[in-house]
Symmetry: C2
Subunit: 228 residues, 2 copies
DNA sequence: TTTTTATTGTGTCAAATATACACAATAAAA
DNA sequence: TTTTATTGTGTATATTTGACACAATAAAAA
């Protein structure tokens, strides 16, 4: 029999703030809870951490069950551990935020979720538990990280225009950026490769770019990489 | 009887990386473990999270039991949850780093620690569990935060010289800074009040400063405050 | 008592970076 | 063919950064 010198009485979950980016807007993937407590309320995808899993593995399981996506950018946030955050048990949760490219996902609500949808960040419904606070923490983390790491490319499609990229920064930072200064800065950072393709639209064609994966590796190693 | 729909089998602890700053060096408070597992090894102060406590409250309890200090700057790091990080049980830990002014502490090793001492950051002994990794994560967080928040003042005594402050930045950032440019930058940030006092030393007197608590509040609200 | 030595304190110039800003080219729709 | 909305580009100015040298001081050594 296994020696157990402490009797745990606190459960541990993971919750995932899964960001998407579509039509110039940040979105979050929400599920409708299929069971009590808070049955029928919208909530973040999550689940109990299992004994054989690390926190990251739990979060990856939650994410892949729901979206079929693996191998995405994830980052852990500070735990939420208010004593009364769960109405029945003592539960602390390890929150993650994840960045999913729109071209990759196909939704797959499973047993614990009766429904799932991508919700615009500025139209969030009332959420279960303290999930609104977790989302705010994830937004703060995203706002911080977008300056320090080239994470825009985890969220945009493979080919994108300068405007797409600028829209992404503006959506995350919640501020307008000057178009010419933006382009100069991005070009100076040497993180883009100009493609011989354009996107046709209602007006002048827009040049398509992709991300330069060689510089990505260089930059990712650097602790600081401040764009804005 | 209380409804319990999940049987938890993972224990939760908190661990504290308690930073001090003395004679121009960053220090960490280590304890010697008084009980198994890893009895006799040096380790971070920590303890099981209790059911009635938040993570912060647990960390404050650990800190005040050991040092008698309350009301210090603390910040939570990412959890450590490797499956085999603890030899007996499944334990995940919520790490914190704390900043303690040297004038405040008086060590108080209690039941779980047979000894405690302030260890220079560049002379760490072999540590129990994964505590060396936790310390590295804390150092990274400190390096990041020192640029974004005026935390130097949580670690320095109330009155200090420009050199003290520069030593602190250099110790945390692990790089040399130009003295004249450093002073210009600090003065520009308007976070210091010049006192009518000097510290006498082996050479020219050094002017003493204290931190301007009014600007502290303003700065702390800002998300970004980059000094270096 | 004089000289040496290590430390504090200060300013300027050049380079890099950030900000503010206007107009021509294009392609679809009117 | 005219209108309209969008893409793409450069310059001038202000701000910030980085490099750098010398006088004042106080103790210690000569």
């Amino acid at each position: 029999m296994k020696l157990q010198y402490n009797v745990p009485d606190i459960s541990i979950t993971v919750d995932c703030v899964i960001f998407g980016f579509d039509t110039s807007k940040l979105q979050i993937l929400l599920i409708k809870r299929a069971s009590d407590p808070e049955k029928g309320k919208w909530a973040l995808p999550g689940g109990f951490m299992e004994k054989h899993e690390t926190a990251e593995e739990s979060a990856e399981r939650v994410l892949s069950q729901l979206t079929g996506v693996t191998d995405v950018y994830m980052d852990q946030l500070k735990v939420f551990a208010a004593v009364d955050r769960h109405p029945i048990e003592r539960v602390i949760t390890v929150p993650f935020y994840a960045l999913v490219k729109p071209e990759n996902y196909r939704l797959n609500p499973s047993s614990y979720a009766s429904d799932a949808y991508w919700c615009d960040i500025d139209r969030l419904p009332i959420l279960a538990f303290d999930h609104d606070e977790i989302i705010n923490a994830a937004l703060d983390a995203l706002k911080r990280d977008v300056r320090l790491k080239p994470i825009g490319f985890e969220l945009l499609p493979e080919k994108f225009t300068m405007k797409d990229l600028q829209d992404f920064f503006e959506a995350v930072l919640e501020e307008k950026l000057d178009r010419r200064n933006f382009r100069r800065k991005i070009k100076g950072a040497k993180i883009l490769v100009k493609l011989n393709e354009v996107r046709k639209g209602a007006h002048k064609d827009a040049i398509l770019y992709k991300f330069d994966s060689k510089t990505y590796r260089t930059i990712s190693k650097n602790t600081f990489y401040i764009l804005f």
